[in-house]
Symmetry: C2
Subunit: 452 residues, 2 copies
């Protein structure tokens, strides 16, 4: 029922390609969905992929290109002449996917490809879409949609759908507009099918429309689509005129990208990498976080070196250095990630920043006191050293409180200034918390060790 | 165009509720979408919410209940008599949402509520759905769908849609089945509208169906729906008989839940919390991670205490304790999170475990050598202590290699045994890496410091 890619399949396919057996290759590809063919790309050389993809018929070729990952697609396009890109692929793609593909090309190639598109309407739509910032509703939308005039009846509306059905894959709704193309209603095909053929379309439409403006940031578009469970979202300009529609598959893609970005930030990876990527790419994605960690470690060493003398005198002071550093980092990430997740899902509630910080303080004190009592008892049992137990337990409360407040405040502040709050879950905050924690612990323990 | 919840709105609404002004409250609620009303719930007392929600008319009341978050809904249901739950809410909900609501009730209340449902078909559907594990396709699906027989013509099919249109909110496809209810094709309303009314439905249907089995784990369902860009997914039993359908909003919900779960794991939070939650809930969500961190810190202290004597002699050995502990933890989380993310998106490629570990080894060596050279130079410049620089740079390579391999191997192994691989990004691995790192560093530096 679903295609499962295996090593054997790839080997058979590579052999067929090597033999240039077009017949056999075509037949195999006919059995596969475009998403499956795109998946195979990773395991083929670029020449093998070229042979295979050029055998596909129009619509499927376009679908496969749309399904490829961005960097794979860019690499693949480099080996194709502009005319082939235009006629074999772009001409058969939805306008939004086509615009995305062309946007990734170098400027001079963009013009070349556009000039080779046969369908003038498609070329016009693409040029229109290329004007939008890719991080807005306009950058997500496609131009393919069916509009009907508000005073048409059901029969005329159905005739219009028949006329355009070939151009558009999936139609669930038609859009009802006035003479200025201002969006007046949304009509589901279900309502259309069950309605009397003489009814006016506006009378059976849903006029309580949820739409988005063309310049709305894509994160907000996603929030609206997911909050109201929408499968497709009309896009309007500032005058309310219909300019396009965004489908749920694009919404889902943005959602996944945002989630992955936040996940990568908190786990210290700076690029969108997969285990299949090249060694150099994988290394490059990790090195920045580690370099900041290294710098943090140097600063930590500096802080400890200030206390070299007391440490030489009371070596036990060193026992809890890792605990304090780890706790500061952990608590900071916990606090900031709760805020980041809430901001991402727009679930922050109505509390003011002050209320939130006070609440965070309460949570931190509660956690801090529980853990502090525990570490006092445990450390005293194991090391029977009152100075040590006092130092670590007092420092722990302070470190947890500081890291919580800092971890809550920073993402809120970043968000206020329209900077991605997820930055606060990254290396910077963790490192600051580590070092502050060390400083708090060592200064407290120096005083306590010297006086007990 | 979209509702924005403000403090003023809540205050006005609370006043209207206090005055028991049903007319005004009803009017306000009519202007809002169910998702907006559900959002208000958080800011109301349970009695206020009860007053408000019972004013809603049938369908909207059901929709609002479906939109509430699970724990809010559970609390709200406690104050409602079973008969009200059944007649005011359940009777008007989609079968999948209704089954979810009832599944959350205590056993004895489930029977009470079911007994009060007026619509026998609805009650039957719910009882059927309650039999499925909630983590499978069956647990996600709804029973509301329109089926037509393969030998019907378009006209008869449209008549069938008319008959059922009232019961089902959104219909984009009808399902074509044979006399045994085996799924034979999927027919979009678009195809239906443009087809000749005398055509047989099976001849205009898509017979290359992508469906899922009722017992398929929900993660796989999500992968299939998102890979093939499906808006609705038919569910079949082991004989291929149609038993229900899963809509994209439920797919999106699972997707978000999975992403949040992984995010929480890597950021050290054990429950699905929001900043608006109670202090005790927020504390409870963080304490487990911190307790493991505390335990790890105790073990770290134990490791350091073994080296108390050399530390007292060479206090400089302590300088790089935080750096080594942090790097071990960071590298481990990086490695495991790349695997976890790839497993979640089924993007692991075809490499064998051995190939992956070898590749990880190469990445680790590359990162390790770069960082090690850097820390050697930096530490030598700052502290002019060859033993110290040698210790930290040799230990760093080893720590990075160990943490990478361990961080890659553990999630793969967990996944092999069907345990959630995201566990590997959590406290256990970080703590193991911290402690192993300390041990490596201190034992190496003891040897080097004593001999240089």
């Amino acid at each position: 029922m679903h295609f499962e890619l295996t090593k054997e399949y790839i080997e058979d396919l590579k052999q067929i390609i090597e033999q240039k057996d077009e017949q056999k290759a075509k037949k195999l590809m006919e059995q596969l969905h475009a998403a499956d063919i795109a998946e195979i790309y990773d395991d083929l050389s670029i020449d093998e992929a070229k042979f295979l993809f050029l055998l596909l018929d129009g619509d499927k070729a376009g679908d496969v290109l749309a399904e490829l990952e961005d960097d794979d697609r860019e690499r693949f396009m480099k080996v194709l002449p502009s005319e082939v890109i235009a006629k074999k692929f772009i001409d058969h793609m939805d306008s939004d996917d086509a615009a995305d593909v062309i946007a990734d090309l170098p400027d001079e190639r963009q013009e070349e490809v556009l000039a080779h598109i046969d369908d003038m309407e498609q070329a016009g739509d693409i040029v229109d879409l290329l004007k939008y910032d890719e991080d807005t509703a306009g950058g997500l939308m496609a131009k393919e949609l069916i509009t009907v005039k508000e005073d048409w009846d059901v029969e005329k509306c159905i005739a219009e759908i028949r006329k355009h059905a070939g151009e558009i894959d999936e139609v669930f709704f038609v859009y009802v507009v006035d003479n200025d193309n201002v969006l007046k209603g949304v009509l589901s095909l279900k309502r259309l099918i069950i309605a009397d053929s003489k009814k006016k379309v506006i009378d059976i439409s849903n006029t309580d429309i949820i739409s988005v403006k063309e310049d709305m940031p894509k994160e907000e578009v996603v929030t609206i689509a997911s909050k109201y469970n929408l499968v497709v979202l009309p896009v309007v300009d500032s005058l309310g005129r219909l300019v396009g529609r965004i489908t749920i598959d694009d919404i889902v893609e943005v959602m996944q990208e945002e989630a992955e970005k936040d996940y990568q930030m908190v786990s210290g990876i700076t690029e969108d990498v997969e285990p299949g990527d090249k060694i150099w790419v994988l290394t490059r994605a990790r090195l920045p976080w580690l370099l900041i960690g290294l710098l943090g470690g140097m600063l930590g060493a500096k802080v400890i070196s200030i206390y070299e003398e007391p440490l030489a005198q009371f070596a036990a002071m060193a026992f809890f250095i890792p605990l304090i550093a780890a706790m500061g980092g952990n608590v900071g990430v916990q606090s900031s990630s709760i805020i980041v997740q809430a901001l991402a899902s727009h679930n922050t509630g109505l509390d003011s920043t002050l209320v939130r910080l006070l609440k965070e303080l309460a949570v931190a004190l509660l956690n801090g006191i529980i853990l502090s009592v525990l570490i006092f008892v445990l450390s005293y049992v194991f090391y029977d050293n009152l100075a040590l137990s006092l130092s670590v337990s007092i420092a722990l409360v302070l470190v947890i409180v500081f890291a919580s407040i800092f971890g809550t405040f920073v993402p809120l502040a970043l968000n206020r200034f329209n900077i991605d709050p997820a930055l606060a879950t990254g290396p910077f905050i963790t490192t600051v918390n580590d070092i502050t924690g060390l400083f708090i612990y060592l200064s407290i323990s120096q005083v306590i060790f010297s006086n007990i």
